[in-house]
């Protein structure tokens, strides 16, 4: 009975990667909080995770170049969506700094949660190996 890391670690590995990608999108929103005409963006976490797990199960083909066609079917890659503004400003910017910051912090917390799970998976594995 072989132990594969993919099976042992489950979804948490992908969750961590997805969280860090989302952190990047949110950080970009915050950096552009004063850029005229900039539209705030975000990803649908659910679809992002779904795609990551599907890719790990060996479905579809890897895209190593941006001009490769997307053949992964309905799962697809996560869409980078535009946020619906609560209060659009006159200069066309749709970033609400406070909201973005809250989301960023929430995302960071979720990242830590996923990390705790992943970390405990590892300590569980090492316990099993040592036979303690």
């Amino acid at each position: 009975m072989a132990i594969t890391f993919d099976k042992a670690l489950g979804i948490h590995e992908h969750a961590l990667a997805a969280r860090s990608q989302r952190a990047q999108v949110l950080a970009n929103n915050l950096a552009n909080a004063d850029t005229p005409g900039y539209k705030a963006r975000d990803v649908d976490f659910q679809s992002m995770l779904k795609q990551a797990t599907e890719a790990s199960q060996g479905e579809g083909m890897a895209r190593t170049h941006p001009s490769h066609m997307d053949v992964s079917g309905s799962g697809g890659s996560p869409e980078l969506l535009y946020r619906t503004p609560h209060q659009p400003s006159l200069d066309g910017n749709t970033v609400d700094a406070q909201q973005e910051q809250t989301r960023f912090m929430r995302n960071a917390m979720d990242f830590q949660a996923s990390f705790e799970f992943l970390s405990s998976k590892f300590s569980g594995l090492s316990k099993a190996i040592k036979g303690e």
């Binding site: 961590l16 990667a17 860090s20 990608q21 952190a23 990047q24 999108v25 950080a27 970009n28 915050l30 950096a31 552009n32 909080a33 004063d34 850029t35 005229p36 900039y38 963006r41 990803v43 895209r63 190593t64 170049h65 941006p66 001009s67 490769h68 997307d70 697809g76 890659s77 996560p78 869409e79 980078l80 700094a97 910051q101 960023f104 912090m105 960071a108 990242f111 830590q112 990390f115 992943l118 970390s119 590892f122 300590s123």
Partner: protein, 149 residues
């Protein structure tokens, strides 16, 4: 690991806000700089911000995370600094050393109240970027402890 990019993004935001604070400081410092002609008078300076797109930054290794044509941005840049074209203030001060033949002196078109508000806005935005950087740092440090008890 895309966490590293956050440092670049937040860093670009900090640079941009710092430049904005710089122009504000320059505007306030020169708010009362009088001169005798329209051409020589100081005009309020404003930075122009624009979002950087990933494609332009590194075209060969753009991230394949998102669907094609949905390039994710990577921070903010200052495209340039423009001078305000608002009308200058013309004051009648015949005893001023820089007064012209008719006794008028030109003062810059700097609105000090506006500049103060701009200063607060940019320092807040700067702080926000620092917070983002700190959060990313904590996330990265957590990752480094993976596997340790």
């Amino acid at each position: 690991m895309s966490l590293g990019n956050i440092f670049d993004i937040a860093g670009s935001g900090m640079t941009a806000q710092q430049l904005r604070l710089n122009t504000t400081a320059s505007n306030i410092a020169n708010a009362e700089t009088a001169s005798s002609s329209v051409d020589q008078t100081y005009r309020a300076r404003k930075p122009v911000f624009a979002a950087i797109q990933q494609q332009l930054l590194n075209p060969d290794q753009s991230s394949g995370h998102f669907r094609f044509g949905q390039e994710q941005g990577t921070g903010v840049t200052v495209e340039g600094i423009v001078e305000s074209q608002e009308e200058l203030q013309m004051r009648y001060e015949p005893h001023h050393p820089a007064a012209n033949e008719e006794g008028y002196v030109f003062y810059p078109n700097v609105n000090v109240v506006e500049e103060m508000a701009d200063m607060m806005s940019s320092s807040r935005s700067f702080q926000m970027n620092v917070d983002v950087m700190n959060a990313a740092k904590t996330m990265m440090q957590r990752v480094l402890t993976l596997g340790q008890q």
